[in-house]
């Protein structure tokens, strides 16, 4: 199984490409007015989860 599917216009977007942007891009709002995950390295946490899931799927 691979998480990277080829992207046709408006159709399947590879999750890995989407996560590059969602987890490392976008406006980061810091301050007391938000429930903050600002101190959480989203990329690290999520990619660790992804990779361990993929490894589980790939290995017999």
């Amino acid at each position: 199984m691979t998480l990277a599917t080829q992207q046709a216009p408006g159709h399947d977007i590879a999750l890995v490409d989407l996560l590059d942007r969602l987890l490392a891009g976008g406006v980061v709002i810091t301050g007391e007015i938000t429930i903050s995950l600002a101190d959480v390295d989203l990329v690290h946490v999520s990619l660790r989860a992804l990779i361990s899931s993929v490894s589980t799927l790939v290995e017999p």
């Binding site: 890995v16 490409d17 995950l37 999520s46």
Partner: protein
């Protein structure tokens, strides 16, 4: 039961058209909040599932992550079709609507500047993979060398070739990036994706995003390098996730 929390997707001009999207994260309807000449697109979400603690746990759950990321993206993408948008980092949650309105009022100038930077522009992604080098020429064994020595010579030549190939691919990727960046209003590099996630054997040597008004020049650069040492893949158009940043106040 505690009050719902407010999940924030993106900020736009106040008069931004209604996005064509049925639901956002967790199946929640998407609403608009307006303050200070800006609009925020939000959903009311469950206070337990979207608490800080629950989010930290959920981020490690691949199924939740994929479903929620795609739902988040569906909203941002729909909003982006209507005009300039400043997408907000995934999993940004507020205690209530008023706090989102406070944000719009307090950071209004910075959001307006961010929207102006992306106005009329979209993001394209370019990934580059090192093209595996051609079959090796059989290295000449040193005259009089025994079978052990020629085996070692072959292994060494193979390893040198692989290292040289990678070096060349990385250098070529840098050159391609400079050309792509010259064809764009802004660019941003991402770390190479893990090969376990790309599902490809070739090494990723470029992972970048480019902000452009017209994708023609970008496509031409990609086409010009079609037979080069780096295989390029274009993705997009994306909402300007990589370029919506607030200047420090």
């Amino acid at each position: 039961m505690a009050d719902a929390l407010v999940y924030l997707y993106a900020v736009t001009d106040a008069d931004h058209p209604e996005p064509a999207v049925d639901a956002g994260v967790d199946g929640a309807p998407v609403r608009r909040l307006v303050a200070g000449g800006l609009a925020a697109f939000v959903s009311s979400v469950d206070p337990v599932r979207f608490s800080e603690e629950a989010l930290r746990r959920s981020l490690e759950d691949l199924q939740w992550l994929e479903t929620t990321a795609r739902a988040h993206h569906a909203v941002v993408d729909a909003v982006a079709r209507g005009g300039p948008v400043a997408p907000v980092r995934f999993a940004t949650v507020y205690l209530d609507d008023d706090r989102v309105r406070d944000l719009l009022a307090e950071r209004g100038a910075a959001f307006a500047a961010a929207l102006d930077r992306v106005r009329g522009r979209v993001e394209w992604g370019v990934k580059g993979f090192a093209v595996p080098s051609a079959a090796p020429a059989e290295p000449d064994a040193a005259p009089g060398a025994g079978p052990g020595a020629s085996y070692l010579a072959r292994r060494l030549a193979e390893r040198n070739r692989a290292a040289k190939g990678q070096e060349e691919a990385l250098a070529a990727a840098e050159a391609v990036h400079r050309e792509l960046a010259a064809a764009a209003a802004a660019s941003r590099r991402y770390p190479a994706q893990d090969p376990r996630l790309t599902g490809r054997r070739e090494e990723m040597v470029l992972n970048a995003a480019y902000l452009v008004a017209d994708d023609g020049p970008l496509r031409r650069v990609v086409e010009q390098h079609a037979d080069g040492p780096v295989q390029l893949e274009l993705t997009g158009p994306w909402a300007p996730y990589s370029f919506a940043t607030l200047e420090e106040q």
